[in-house]
Symmetry: C2
Subunit: 766 residues, 2 copies
C-alpha cells in the first residue's frame, strides 16, 4: 500500500481519511525543531492503529540489551530514543461521546497538510458521531523553530447542532516506547500540578535521571466551565460549554517542554509553567508569524528549486525539510538519528550516516557552525571511543567510534557489526577532511580535529596485521558498508579508508607543526604522539594490501570475491526480492549481491583518486550486483551514474532515493522515515545532476539537467561565500551572493567570482 | 575453586560439607537411568545456593527464542531440556525447626558418596539445629536402571535427644527452568491427590502438551501420626512422631515417574500411583539389589580397568558412568544432551557431539542395538532435516540436520552456527559408516541409512558452488568445528566431509543395488534418485577444492589462513587465557587460535586417508595453535599424539579431557557436566593409549601404556564378538570372550581369534 499523497511543490497533502494510512501519515507529516519532534498523531483520542510518538533530542534510555548469545565486548545497554510526554493531546466529548476517528460513523472533508515552507501541520475533517452529531475540526500545530522548547496548537471545533461539549487538553507522562526490549516503561512521573487552564507534569527516566517538564497554558474562545483533572501522570483542564450549531470555538494550547539537559531539575516545572504562560500571552498568531519567518530564513540558504517537475520538487523539499527540522546545529550534544523524530526503530541517534551522508547537506546549506557542531559531537565522544577500543583490546589512545550511539558509548550488539564494521572510523576522519575543504577552517585541527584523527589513525595502525604471505598489511575480519558480507578479509573500502586516514592524520600533524607551533607542542604532549608514530602510520599506509584482479582491472570488494557465482541482480527471480526478506542469511552472505555501495563508496568519497575510466570499470562491474537494499545506497550510485553520463540509470536511481518515503518503497514508513538517507538524496541532486565536484581541492560544476526539468537551482555555502547555482537547458549560472571570492570550473571553464558577481556558462553541445 | 573429591577407583566421594561446593557437587554426583536423571540435590530443604534439577529424557519445552537481530531462517523456538517435578523432596522439622544445612549451626560428619559400580548415591551428615538438637541423617537414593520409571529414597534420621519430628515427603510440580529465556514457567500443575502415605501430582507443559505424573508411596519405620498436605501442585504426607534419643527412624519413599511419551494421558496419575505402590511392596532392599545387579551387568561390557593409577581409574569410570546413565539405547526418541541429566545449559538434547564423540563408546561397549537407536533417531528426524534445508532455500530432498535439536527441528539462533556450521551433516553420515564398519550391518542402509545419506549428499551438492577462479567446487560461508572462525570459505574439514559423504552415498547406492535389488528399486522410487544424480555427486566430489600450502606441505584450515599472524598459543599472556573469556570476538576471529580440532578432526576420522608423515606435519602445525577451549578438543589431540608417539603431550592432553569435570577445569561444573565430552575421553583411552585403529576396514592395536600404569583393560564389541583387550608393561593380551571370529593386527602381527581364544603379543622393544 502506497501513501496517498498529493503532489504539491511546497506541501505534503493527504485529502482522504484512511485508517490504514494513519501510521504512515504519522511518519510522513512529522514535525520537529531540532530540539524536539513528534509524529503527526491526532490531537483528539484515536483508538485505531497508531504509534503515539514525541521525542526530545538528546534524551535517551539505556534499555537492557536483548541478545541471543553473549560475546565479550558487547555493551550491556542499547541507548533508545525516548518516547516522551505527549503534549498535543486533547480529549473531546460531544454530548458525552468521545471524538475518535476510529469510532466515528462517517469521516468526511478530511485533509492533512504539512506546509514545509512554514513548518505548519494542519488537519481538517468532519466526523459524524454515533449520536448523530457532526463535528468539524480544524487543527493547526507547530513546534517553534524560534524557541525550540515551545509548541502551540490551535484546535477549532464546530458542531452542526447545539450540544454539550467537553474539551480537555492534557499533558501525559504515561508513555511507552514501542521498541522497548523487555516491554518495560522508561519514565516515572514525579510531580504534577493543575491550575486554571494550566497543567504541568514532570517525569524522570528510570535510569540516568533525565527529567522532563511539560507545561500547557490553554485558552478557549468562548465562555466555559472549567475543571482540573488529576489522573496520575496526566494532569488536564476540562472546559465544558454548550455549543451553538455551526459556530466555531477555538482552543489554543501553548506548550513548554523543558528537560534537564537545559535547565536545573528543581526549577524545571516552574520554568515550564512560566514559559507556557508567556507563550499564551504572546498569542498563537504572533508565535506562528515568527515561526514562519524563521522557516523562510532557513530555506533561504537551503532550498533547492526544480522547475518543470512538481513531484521531484516536492520530494527534494520533503528531504530537506526533514534534515532541517531534525538537526539545527545549535547544540553539539545532538545529532541526526536514522529516523529523526519520526519513529523509534534502530534506537541511538548517531550512525556513520551522519558523516557519510548528512554532513555534506549541512556544510552546503547552513552556517558552517552547524557542520562544526557535528564534528564537535564526535570530538566530545573521543574518550568513549578510546574506552570502546580498549574494551576490544586496543591500546595507547586508539579510538573506535561506535556503530550506534547516543552518548558516545557503543549500543549495538551484533559482533559482525559492533566489532567488525569498523569502516565507520574512516567516515569520521573523512568528515573532518570534508569540513576543512568546505570551510578552510584548518584551525579546527587544533580544536579537536587532530585529537580525533590521531585516535583513529592509532586504531587502524593496530587493527591491521602483517601478512607474511602477502608481504603487506592486511585487515582481517571486517564488515564493509555492504553488510551482506560479514567477517571478510581485506574489504577494499575499509583498507582504503584506513590507508587514507593514516596518511591524512600524518599530514594534519605536519600542517599543525608548520602553522600552529604552539598548538603543536601542546598536542604532542597531550596526545603523546611523536615522529616515530607518524612514521609507522605512513609505513602501514604505504604497505596496505588491496585485493585487485588484473584481468578485470578492478579492485575486489574483498579477498575471495571472485570465488562467488557472479550473476547480475536482474537475473534474480523477482519473488526473491528484496533478498533480505526472502533469503536466509547464509545464502545472502555467499551470494555476490551487494546491499549498498561499498567499493564504489570509496570512489565516491575521493573522486580525485579514481580516473573516470577506472570508475566506469568498477561501476559497470558492481552496479549490476547491487540490490540497493539499504536506503543509503541509490544516492551514491546516482552521483556516479551522473559522472559516467548514464542518464537513464541516474534518473531511475534518483527516484529510488528521492521518493523512498513518500512512496514507501520499502514498506516501512509506518515505523518512521529514513531521515539520514535524505542527506543522500541531497547529494544525488547537487553532486549528481548539479554536477558539483571537489577535485584537487577545487570546486567544479559539470551539471546535466534531467529530461523534463527546466531549471535546477541550489544554494551553496563554500569557503565563506554564498553561491546560487542555477542550471537550465541552456547552461549554468552562478551567482556569488555574498562573502569571499570563489574560484571554480564550470564545464571545464575556469571562473573567479567576487561577491555580487555572477557568471553564465553554456552547456557543451552533446 | 576445585571440587574437593577424594580419589577412589569406584566412587566419587566428598567428605566435608562446604556450601560453596554444593552446586558443583550437585552436578558431579548426579544420577540417572536413561529415562530420567537428577542433580544431587538434598532431599531435605536447602536455602543455600543450589540448582534444583530433575530431568526427563525426551520431554522438552519450545521456549521463545531470545535474539538480538532477527535473520530470515531462524527458528522461533529453542527446545529446552525440561526441569520437571521434584520427587526426592522431604521436609524435616525437629521440634518445629526446619532441617536445612544452610541454617544449621554446625554440620559435621558430612560425606557424600556416588557408588558408580552400583548406581547409588548416599549422603550422611550430622547437623546441629539452632534449637540445639543434633540430627544425624543417612540418605540413600537410586533411579532404577531396571525399571526406568522408578526411583527410591531411604532417608534415615536420628536425633541426639527426644524431640518432636515432622517428616513430610512430597512431590512438587512447581518447578522452573533456570535457563528459561523469558523467566516464564513451563509447567502447569493439573491434578493432585493424596491418600494415606501416598501422593500423586500430574502436570502438563504449557506448550506441546507433554504430561507428567509423579507418584510417591511412603513408609516410616516407626509409628507416627499422619496428615495429608495439599499445597497447590505439591501434595505431601506428613508423619509426626516423638523421636527417642539416638534411635534411628527410616523413611522409605518409592517414586514412579510416568510421562505421556510412554503412557496414555488419562491413565497417567493412576498408573503412577499403582507403580509407586507396587514398588513399596517390593521394598527398598529388593529394588536396590536388582538395581545393583543391573549396573554390574552394564559395567561387564563397558568397564575400563586402569591399574596403577587410582585417579585415572576414577576418572575413566566417572566418564563411563555418566555415558551409561544418560543413554541406555532403549528408545530411539532419546539422545545424549551435552549436559545429560546434570544441568540445563545449551538446551536441546542433540548436537553433532553424539555422532562424532559418543557413538564410538556405545558401539564398543553396549549391545549394537544401542548404537543403532542413535542412528534411528536421525533417520526419524529426516523429514525435519529436509524441512530445515528447504527453509534455507535448498531443494529436492536435501537435508540439513540441525545444530541443536530435541525433535528434529533446529533450535539454535546464531547465523554463523545455525546456517553455517553445516559440517554436522558430515558427522551424521560418518556415524552410519562407523556403525556399519563396527557391526557389518550393511542392511541398515535399506532401513533408513541410505535415506539419510541421500539427503545429506543432496545438501552438499547444492551447498557448493563452482568457482571460475579456482576451477573447482568451493564451499563459501561456513563455520567449521573450530568456532573461532566464522563465515569462512573452504574450511578444509567441511569440504573434506562433503567430498567423503558424496562419494560414500554413491558407494552405498551401489552396495544396495548389488546386494538388495528389491530394496534398491523401492528406494530409487521413494527417493527419486537416479544414476544421473550419483554422477553429479561423484563429479562434485572429484572437483572439490581444498586449500593447500605447498611450502608447508599442509592443508589450510580455510582460505586465507596464512594471512594471519601465526604464533603458538604458548606465547599468549596467561592472563589472556582462556581467550574466549578475555578477548572480544573479533580479536578471537582474526587470531590464528583454534578452539578445537578442525583440520585434525578429519584426519582423526579417516586414519587410513592420511599418512603418519602427513599427520605429523599437520599436528605439528595445528596443535600449537589450538587453545582447546572446547571440552571436545583435547580428546582428539590425545589420540593423534599417541599415533605420533608424543607420549608426554598425549598424557597431558588426556588429563585435560579425563578430569575436566572432576577438577572443574573450566569453572562451569556448577551448571552441569560435559557429558558428551566423556565419549571423547573414552576415545582418548581406547583409541589413544589402547592403540585401537580401524585401518583399511581392519582392526589394529598399537597400544602404549602411559608411565605409571601397570595395566589397562577394556572390553570391545566388534562385529559380533566381545573382546577383552588387556595391556600391561610386557605386551597385549586379547581375549575373544564370545561370538564371531575376529581378525586383527597387534603391533603389526596378524591374529585370528575364535570365540574362547586369546592371544598375547609382546610390545616391540622401543
Amino acid at each position: 500500500m502506497k501513501p496517498q499523497i498529493l503532489i504539491h511543490p511546497w506541501k505534503i497533502i493527504q485529502d482522504q481519511w484512511d485508517p490504514l494510512q494513519q501510521r504512515m501519515a504519522e511518519s510522513l507529516f512529522a514535525i520537529g525543531n531540532g530540539r524536539m519532534g513528534q509524529r503527526a498523531n491526532h490531537e483528539e483520542d484515536y483508538s485505531g492503529e497508531t504509534l503515539q510518538g514525541s521525542y526530545i533530542a538528546g534524551l535517551y534510555y539505556p534499555d537492557k540489551t536483548k541478545v541471543g548469545w553473549w560475546k565479550n565486548g558487547y555493551p550491556d545497554y542499547f541507548a533508545k530514543v525516548l518516547n516522551s510526554s505527549n503534549f498535543i493531546g486533547i480529549h473531546v466529548r460531544i454530548d458525552g461521546e468521545l471524538l475518535d476517528l476510529a469510532t466515528a460513523t462517517v469521516v468526511s472533508e478530511f485533509r492533512r497538510e504539512l506546509d514545509m515552507q512554514h513548518g505548519l501541520l494542519t488537519r481538517t475533517f468532519t466526523a459524524t458521531l454515533s449520536n448523530g452529531i457532526q463535528v468539524e475540526v480544524i487543527a493547526t500545530r507547530l513546534l517553534s523553530i524560534v524557541s525550540d522548547d515551545m509548541a502551540a496548537v490551535a484546535y477549532q471545533l464546530r458542531t452542526d447542532q447545539d450540544a454539550q461539549v467537553e474539551i480537555e487538553p492534557y499533558v501525559d507522562a504515561n508513555v511507552i516506547n514501542e521498541d522497548a526490549n523487555w516491554e518495560s516503561t522508561f519514565w516515572e512521573p514525579l510531580s504534577q500540578r493543575t491550575d486554571k487552564e494550566h497543567a504541568v507534569v514532570q517525569s524522570k527516566t528510570k535510569r540516568l535521571n533525565f527529567h522532563l517538564a511539560v507545561a500547557m497554558q490553554c485558552q478557549l474562545s468562548c465562555d466555559a466551565e472549567g475543571q482540573s483533572g488529576d489522573k496520575a501522570g496526566c494532569p488536564s483542564w476540562t472546559y465544558t460549554y454548550q455549543s451553538t450549531a455551526n459556530k466555531a470555538v477555538i482552543l489554543h494550547k501553548y506548550v513548554a517542554v523543558l528537560s534537564s539537559l537545559n535547565a536545573p531539575i528543581d526549577d524545571l516545572s516552574q520554568l515550564a509553567s512560566t514559559q507556557a504562560i508567556a507563550a499564551a500571552k504572546q498569542g498563537f498568531d504572533a508565535i506562528k508569524k515568527a515561526h514562519q519567518a524563521a522557516w523562510m530564513g532557513k530555506w533561504a540558504t537551503a532550498d533547492i528549486v526544480i522547475e518543470g517537475d512538481d513531484s521531484a520538487q516536492q520530494a527534494i523539499r520533503f528531504n530537506i525539510f526533514h534534515l532541517l527540522q531534525t538537526f539545527t546545529g545549535v547544540d553539539p550534544r545532538l545529532n541526526i538519528g536514522p529516523k529523526g523524530f519520526t519513529g523509534e526503530k534502530y534506537g541511538g541517534s548517531t550512525y556513520w550516516d551522519t558523516e557519510a551522508y548528512c554532513l555534506p547537506f549541512y556544510l552546503a546549506s547552513s552556517d558552517i557552525s552547524v557542520a562544526k557542531n557535528l564534528l564537535n559531537y564526535r570530538f566530545n565522544h573521543l574518550p568513549q571511543a578510546i574506552a570502546n577500543a580498549e574494551k576490544l583490546g586496543f591500546k595507547k589512545g586508539a579510538a573506535l567510534y561506535p556503530m550506534v550511539t547516543m552518548n558516545g558509548e557503543e549500543c549495538h550488539n551484533e559482533w559482525e557489526i559492533t566489532f567488525e564494521e569498523v569502516h565507520r572510523n574512516g567516515a569520521i576522519a573523512y568528515a573532518i577532511y570534508n569540513y576543512i575543504r568546505h570551510s578552510q577552517d584548518w584551525h579546527h585541527l587544533t580544536e579537536g580535529g587532530l585529537d580525533v584523527l590521531t585516535g583513529i589513525a592509532r586504531f587502524w595502525a593496530q587493527r591491521v596485521s602483517w601478512s607474511k604471505a602477502k608481504k603487506s598489511y592486511v585487515m582481517l575480519g571486517v564488515t564493509g558498508p555492504n553488510e551482506y558480507e560479514n567477517n571478510v578479509n581485506n574489504n577494499y573500502y575499509t583498507n582504503f579508508m584506513a590507508q587514507w586516514s593514516l596518511n591524512y592524520a600524518a599530514e594534519c600533524w605536519s600542517w599543525v607543526e608548520s602553522h600552529e607551533p604552539d598548538a603543536y607542542d601542546r598536542l604532542r604532549k597531550d596526545l603523546l604522539c611523536d615522529g616515530d608514530e607518524l612514521t609507522i602510520w605512513k609505513s602501514v599506509a604505504s604497505k596496505m594490501y588491496f585485493p585487485y584482479d588484473k584481468t578485470l582491472g578492478i579492485y575486489l570488494q574483498q579477498d575471495g570475491f571472485l570465488d562467488k557465482v557472479i550473476e547480475p541482480a536482474s537475473a534474480l527471480d523477482p519473488k526473491d526480492r528484496p533478498i533480505n526478506q526472502n533469503w536466509s542469511w547464509d545464502r545472502i552472505l555467499r551470494s555476490c549481491y551487494i546491499k549498498q555501495a561499498d567499493t564504489l563508496q570509496g570512489m565516491f568519497f575521493f573522486e580525485d583518486k579514481t580516473s573516470l575510466d577506472s570508475l566506469k570499470k568498477h561501476f559497470d562491474y558492481y552496479e549490476p550486483l547491487t540490490v540497493h537494499e539499504s536506503s543509503l545506497s541509490p544516492c551514491v550510485h546516482t552521483v556516479l551514474a551522473c559522472r559516467l553520463n548514464y542518464r537513464e540509470q541516474a534518473m531511475s536511481l534518483y527516484e529510488k532515493t528521492a521518493r523512498l518515503d513518500l512512496d514507501d518503497s520499502n514498506n516501512e514508513v509506518h515505523e518512521g522515515l529514513h531521515v539520514t538517507a535524505m542527506g543522500g538524496t541531497w547529494m544525488s541532486l547537487v553532486y549528481g545532476f548539479g554536477g558539483m565536484k571537489i577535485l584537487n581541492d577545487g570546486l567544479q560544476f559539470d551539471p546535466q539537467l534531467p529530461e523534463g526539468w527546466t531549471r535546477l537551482t541550489f544554494p551553496l555555502n563554500w569557503r565563506g561565500a554564498l553561491l546560487t547555482v542555477s542550471i537550465d537547458r541552456d547552461g549554468v549560472t552562478i551567482d556569488n551572493q555574498k562573502g569571499n571570492r570563489v574560484a571554480c570550473h564550470v564545464h571545464g571553464q575556469a571562473f573567479d567570482l567576487a561577491a555580487g558577481q555572477s557568471i553564465h556558462q553554456q552547456h557543451p553541445v552533446s
